[in-house]
């Protein structure tokens, strides 16, 4: 058997940052556990300003006055883990949720579907990246061993027992799930790392320690079959979003409703189902929850179709007070009937897409695959970005060329101006100020190019209209 264990160490922060994508702030954010009076999770901005895990609230506030504090709630983390397991279940079969922060996935039985470990691994990590969850992982012969490696922040993919064994050698005993008493007893006989513990014969330990220790050790060695409950997705769909701000206007709920509907669409697509009625529950601080049932005349699955209906239903509702959460449930499903061409005219297989991307990434690597995203800039060369940028306007510049050269080249061919000038004089914020007059020109061969004249009256060609 071969298992991967993912240790999701900042679930609450990740969930929070997802829901605040629209209103991104660079303020340090921490998660605070009132029971233990300590900070349990810090984001990068918080770490930069000197905050750290296990600090008290007073110390944190004195270090950094404008800190955002989120309360730790075990239920939120568990529901985030559940949502993540739902996503992973689409690409893997044996998924185990290990609260409070762990998810384990069995890998060896998936190999026959994916062909090789790199493809499988890309499919798995893609789910995590898409859900935007930070994690440490370990890969080993059993859940317990993988968990020790994940907590050791090993983050390497191993395929042989020998590699795992040498990685386990130096892991600290504190990472194991042994009681303090056992650990100090082991320390007394000079065992402080996992390696020597694994090398001990079972009989020698059996004489001195309790049965639980033996049970854990055999599990750690992978000698027993793991007795865990495998994750099974629920029969009905339910999803919940806590709003990052209190929305007074029903229109402000729409982006969050759209993301709920997207989840619903993924759920239905994966199960080949359709639905004709969905149910929203909008939560408030004081008033009773507002129920909003939306039904359609025929069964649908697409976000766009549902969104139109929900917008109509919502436009007639008045919110009694600012809303704080939205919950979407759907429990009546219909099978796809052959005459419903909603599914089959544009047959769309999410799995095929994931397999394809997995294969492309596995063979060509990150440098061979790019995504095209909108940048947040007026300068032509920064209008397109290859990393995701937060808060981007969806307005496109009509004069953008199809292709942009890596570097502007001097314009040497005689040509005629068809469009322009368009002056771009900006970039003062990153010391990259320039003034350029952009034109679209046509060469003698009637090729259309994007050219510009810089402040020194030099002409350069920068892109081509294909």
């Amino acid at each position: 058997m071969w298992w991967a264990y993912f240790h999701c160490y900042q679930l609450t922060l990740d969930v929070h940052s997802q829901s605040t994508q629209q209103v991104s702030t660079n303020l340090p954010t921490v998660v605070y556990n009132p029971q233990q009076n300590c900070i349990v999770q810090c984001d990068s901005a918080a770490l930069k300003s000197g905050l750290d895990i296990n600090m008290g609230l007073a110390q944190a506030a004195s270090l950094c006055p404008d800190i955002t504090i989120i309360d730790y709630c075990a239920d939120t983390e568990l529901s985030a883990l559940n949502a993540l397991a739902h996503n992973i279940y689409q690409v893997a079969s044996d998924v185990v949720i290990l609260p409070p922060t762990g998810i384990a996935v069995r890998l060896d039985n998936l190999l026959q579907y994916y062909g090789s470990y790199p493809v499988l691994w890309h499919a798995l990590t893609h789910e995590f990246t898409q859900a935007n969850i930070s994690r440490d992982f370990g890969v080993a012969w059993g859940i317990e061993a993988a968990k020790v490696l994940a907590k050791h922040k090993n983050n390497r993919f191993y395929t042989t027992h020998q590699q795992v064994k040498s990685a386990l050698q130096n892991c600290d005993l504190n990472l194991c799930e042994l009681s303090d008493k056992t650990r100090s007893a082991l320390n007394r006989v000079g065992i402080s790392a996992v390696g020597p513990l694994l090398a001990m014969p079972v009989q020698a330990i059996g004489q001195r320690f309790h049965n639980d220790v033996i049970r854990y050790l055999t599990a750690l060695r992978g000698e027993t079959f793991p007795t865990v409950t495998l994750f099974r997705p629920k029969e009905t769909f339910a999803s919940h979003i806590t709003l990052p701000f209190e929305a007074e206007n029903a229109q402000h709920l729409l982006p969050y409703i759209k993301s709920l509907l997207t989840r619903l669409e993924h759920y239905l697509r994966a199960r080949n189902l359709l639905t004709s009625s969905i149910h929203f529950t909008i939560g408030f601080r004081e008033s009773d929850n507002l129920d909003l049932g939306v039904s359609a005349a025929h069964t649908m699955v697409k976000v766009m179709d549902w969104q139109l209906l929900v917008e109509l239903a919502l436009s007639s509702k008045q919110l009694p007070e600012p809303a704080i959460s939205i919950h979407l449930t759907c429990d009546s499903f219909d099978d796809v009937s052959p005459e419903d061409d909603d599914f089959f005219s544009q047959r769309f297989s999410l799995l095929a897409q994931k397999q394809l991307l997995g294969r492309l990434y596995a063979k060509l690597g990150d440098e061979g695959n790019t995504r095209v995203l909108m940048g947040n800039d007026h300068r032509i060369e920064k209008m397109t970005s290859h990393q995701s940028v937060t808060s981007v306007s969806e307005q496109s510049a009509a004069y953008s060329p199809a292709f942009l050269f890596d570097k502007p080249t001097p314009l040497t061919t005689p040509s005629r101006i068809c469009f322009g000038p368009l002056r771009i004089n900006t970039g003062w914020w990153d010391n990259n100020t320039y003034q350029r007059d952009y034109f679209i020109v046509e060469t003698h061969q009637e090729h259309r190019l994007l050219v510009f004249r810089d402040a020194n009256e030099q002409w350069w060609s920068q892109g081509v209209y294909s």
Partner: protein, 227 residues
Amino acid sequence: MKKPLSLFDNNPHIWRGKQQPADNARLSFGIPALDNALNGGVPAAGVIRIASATGIGELSLFSELLTRQKSQKLCVFIKPPAQLQADWLLAQGYELDKIHVVTPSCDNDALWAAEQCLKSTACHCVYLWQNTLSYKQARRLQVAATQSDTLCILFTPEQQSTPLPINVDLSLSMKDSLLNISIRKQRHGWPVNNVKFPRHWTPDNSSIQYAMRTYRYVPEEQHHIVS
């Protein structure tokens, strides 16, 4: 007794001039001259080769065709000649999360990627830029594309003219603001040369010129004073 030609009659790959085209799934350009020459448009699956120079609107001609079909599937660009721009894609009507760009380091990897994309049924359309393509490679792409109902558009330089076993073979050129398309080969149809039509694929200054013509500046002393 069997007729001597019955072997040929039964072969599905032999098409006769009097037969109607078998597959009706065609994508129309919306340009009457071109659609007539292509018997209603290009087939919705298979390989189309475009031999043209870069920069005469060859990509936007097909983008308009494909973005009219709303699809949930991916659009993959393999080995584009330069960096693809997000704003242009949006203006053409693509959805950015359905776009994937593959920039392999060698031609063999590009062909491998194209074949994987065509076979996977996850793609709506695959654009491939490739300088040369052998008969066998083209055949592989054509089979993969027709089996999974995907369109593969292959861009090659102008000089390329080796015959390939593909659906449509076009050559594009631009002369006097007219796009000139020669259909060098099409399945279930005859070659047609020099289909010409005017084409605008970049913004131009016509609105400014129109405004300047219409609201011409008239010096003040020429104003007629109506008393």
